[in-house]
């Protein structure tokens, strides 16, 4: 995809978002007979209009500059995309594991899993990965639980 097309699509998306915001702001309560600028929905509407104008300008600028260079692809390789997706999944899972088993367990599992994933099959050193995971989890536990006394959700483990 060319940079020009990417900008045009983004501009249209922002315009649509601005439109939604404008409509949503219309549902906010207004005060009859008061100064219009003081209504709850006034400021959001101004921002919506501003965003709409800017997104149109963005599209115009993209057309004018006509940058036909290719956009850097969002994900280098298929593997890169897979790693990105797995990372997202792990981020979401982290919250649930944290609630179920405790934040230290969740952190340990997360770090281990991610390091495992990011290392090439050939150069994986399980002992080193486990060692670093334990180490970092210990540091996090010490700082947040022991020094700062943050109350974490009570899970089955730590």
């Amino acid at each position: 995809m060319t940079k020009k097309n990417s900008d045009i699509i983004a501009g249209i998306a922002f315009f649509a978002f601005a439109g939604l915001l404008y409509i949503a702001a219309g549902f906010m309560p207004t005060r009859q007979g008061g100064i219009p600028a003081l209504n709850t929905g006034f400021y959001p509407r101004i921002l919506a209009i501003l965003l709409a104008v800017l997104s149109v300008l963005m599209v115009i600028e993209a057309l004018r500059i006509n940058n036909t260079n290719k956009v850097e692809s969002w994900w280098n390789t298929k593997t890169a995309f897979l790693m990105f997706a797995v990372t997202l999944a792990m981020l979401v899972l982290y919250v649930f594991v944290m609630k179920l088993f405790g934040f230290a367990t969740a952190s340990f599992l997360f770090i281990t899993a991610m390091m495992w994933m990011l290392t090439d099959k050939a150069s994986r050193k399980p002992v080193l990965i486990l060692g670093i995971s334990v180490g970092i989890t210990a540091i996090i536990y010490t700082i947040f639980k022991m020094i700062l006394s943050i109350p974490f959700p009570q899970g089955l483990l730590i």
């Binding site: 994900w75 890169a80 790693m83 990105f84 981020l91 919250v95 952190s107 020094i147």
Partner: protein, 495 residues
């Protein structure tokens, strides 16, 4: 004078020195690692300071601030990848120097210049801040509207990429700032049933997400994390004759740094680029710039550390961040329950004075650690990213929870990370979003207050002289580059 010294009593506590030292150390390490910006470093560590007293917390955060701004120069010099945006100009002469085998010399010059720049900025901060605070007390709602507009327009202009994209980012930030209770009527806007959102979206998880998590996602997606480079280092402390040679450069660049830092929203990266540009125009050996001369390292490094003190001026006196890093620092103040602004000077002068002293202390530690520790930092740059990335992500997750003991904030973090990733890929800068989030509520409440006080008379914004001046500045900032272009064209044509 007693005002300044009122903070000194807190420095009998050894924890202050330890805290500052640790801050500088961590700051230098994180600043030196490419891919971890100074802003991100401060954002990720703010949750760590939550349980600490404000004095110790800020000794640590200011250490991070000074350390990371300086630390970016290390990787800029050694591997031509600036560790932070404020070190971009440093690589221009720094890397050629290291190619000539003079990496040690370059780092030594960088350390000394950063130290001198930092010192100057503390001095200016100490004298200018109380003066500005007393003027700021006279500010009313209209003036705050003007100054927030100035901040937003500056950040839009200076962000990399087109101004329009910068402005869109700023507006997106303002829109994020709408979420929560309307400041005047109390009506909940866009909270989607979550009571946690009544106070608005917490800015720190958003910052950590957009700066930290999204950067990690970008590195994973581009397999960038696989690249590591190795390097070696020699002698470090610069000889006196070198220091004499760069002295004029350092003084000029430091002033540039403080001034630019003091402008709302403009900070270290701009300051270092402008200083380098000025060295190209006025420097004694300007023809040699770019080939690897020490002035080329001294100028940007003095400027970027000088901007740290400068950026604290609007932050402390007006509550308007001087740059993205101080925007994050403000978050640190707010979680301690302190509101930056002129009242801080009236009610919390010992704390303000301890900030001045902490900044000074951080400069001292930075100098010592820089001169002694550079060989170690050089080794650390080659630490494999694949181990670092998961660690940083987990720090971000736990840190975001810790701020308000809220699982909700973790979701904010994750969503911000994804949104930040997408925006980076589209080419939108992140800094204006953060500034928009912080300045937005300030802007809206003052805007509506001004209109209420004037009974709906919009002319009030131009009737008050200071407010009018600010609005004119906004127009100049936004239209300036375009006008200059046209001016240059006609001028050249008529010649």
């Amino acid at each position: 004078m007693d005002l300044y010294l009122s903070g000194l009593q807190y420095f009998t506590n050894p924890a202050m020195y330890l805290s500052s030292f640790l801050g500088v150390l961590v700051g230098i390490v994180f600043g030196a690692l490419p891919g971890l910006t100074a802003t991100m470093t401060i954002a990720v560590f703010i949750p760590f300071t939550f349980g600490l007293s404000p004095f110790i917390a800020f000794a640590f955060l200011l250490g991070l601030y000074s350390g990371s701004v300086y630390g970016g120069s290390i990787s800029a010099i050694l591997i031509n990848i600036p560790g932070t945006p404020s070190a971009i100009a440093t690589s221009l002469d720094g890397y050629p120097l290291s190619q000539m085998g003079k990496a040690g010399e370059a780092i030594g010059i960088s350390t000394i210049s950063s130290t001198l720049g930092g010192f100057l900025s503390v001095i200016v901060l100490m004298f200018a801040a109380p003066a500005i605070a007393s003027v700021a007390l006279k500010f009313s709602a209209e003036e705050y509207v003007g100054i927030t507009l100035i901040g937003l327009s500056i950040i839009a202009i200076i962000s990399p990429g087109s101004t329009i994209k910068g402005l869109i980012s700023g507006v997106l930030g303002l829109i994020i700032g709408i979420v929560g209770m309307d400041p005047i009527t109390g009506y909940p806007r866009f909270i989607m049933g979550h009571a946690e959102l009544l106070e608005g979206i917490d800015s720190i998880p958003v910052m950590i997400g957009m700066y930290g998590l999204s950067e990690m996602l970008v590195q994973i997606s581009s397999s960038e994390y696989k690249i590591t480079v190795k390097q070696k280092l020699a002698k470090l402390v610069p000889p006196i004759k070198d220091i004499k040679q760069i002295f004029g450069t350092v003084v000029r660049s430091s002033f540039i740094g403080v001034l630019i830092g003091a402008l709302p929203a403009a900070g270290g990266s701009i300051a270092s680029l402008v200083a380098y540009g000025q060295e190209k125009r006025f420097g004694k050996r300007k023809e040699l710039l770019g080939t690897g001369i020490i002035e080329g390292v001294a100028a940007p490094e003095a400027a970027n550390n000088a901007s740290t003190g400068g950026a604290l001026i609007p932050m402390l006196t007006l509550g308007i961040p001087g740059d993205a890093m101080t925007a994050v620092l403000m978050g640190g103040l707010i979680i301690q329950g302190l509101r930056p602004g002129p009242l801080l000077f009236q009610q919390q002068m010992p704390f303000v004075s301890s900030i001045f002293i902490s900044l000074l202390l951080s400069v001292v530690f930075m100098c010592i650690l820089g001169l002694l520790g550079a060989p170690v930092f050089a080794k650390l740059i080659s630490f494999p990213k694949k181990y670092l990335i998961p660690a940083i992500i987990v720090f971000s997750l736990v840190g975001s929870y810790a701020i308000s003991n809220s699982i909700f904030d973790i979701w904010v973090l994750i969503i911000s990370g994804i949104v930040g990733f997408a925006l980076r890929k589209i080419g939108l800068p992140i800094a204006p979003i953060i500034l928009g989030m912080i300045l937005g509520p300030l802007f809206e409440s003052n805007f509506r207050r001004a209109l209420m006080l004037s009974s709906g008379n919009w002319a009030t914004f131009v009737q008050r002289p200071i407010s009018l001046a600010f609005l004119i500045i906004v127009v100049l900032v936004l239209a300036g580059p375009a006008i200059l272009k046209r001016f240059n064209k006609t001028f050249i044509r008529s010649n």
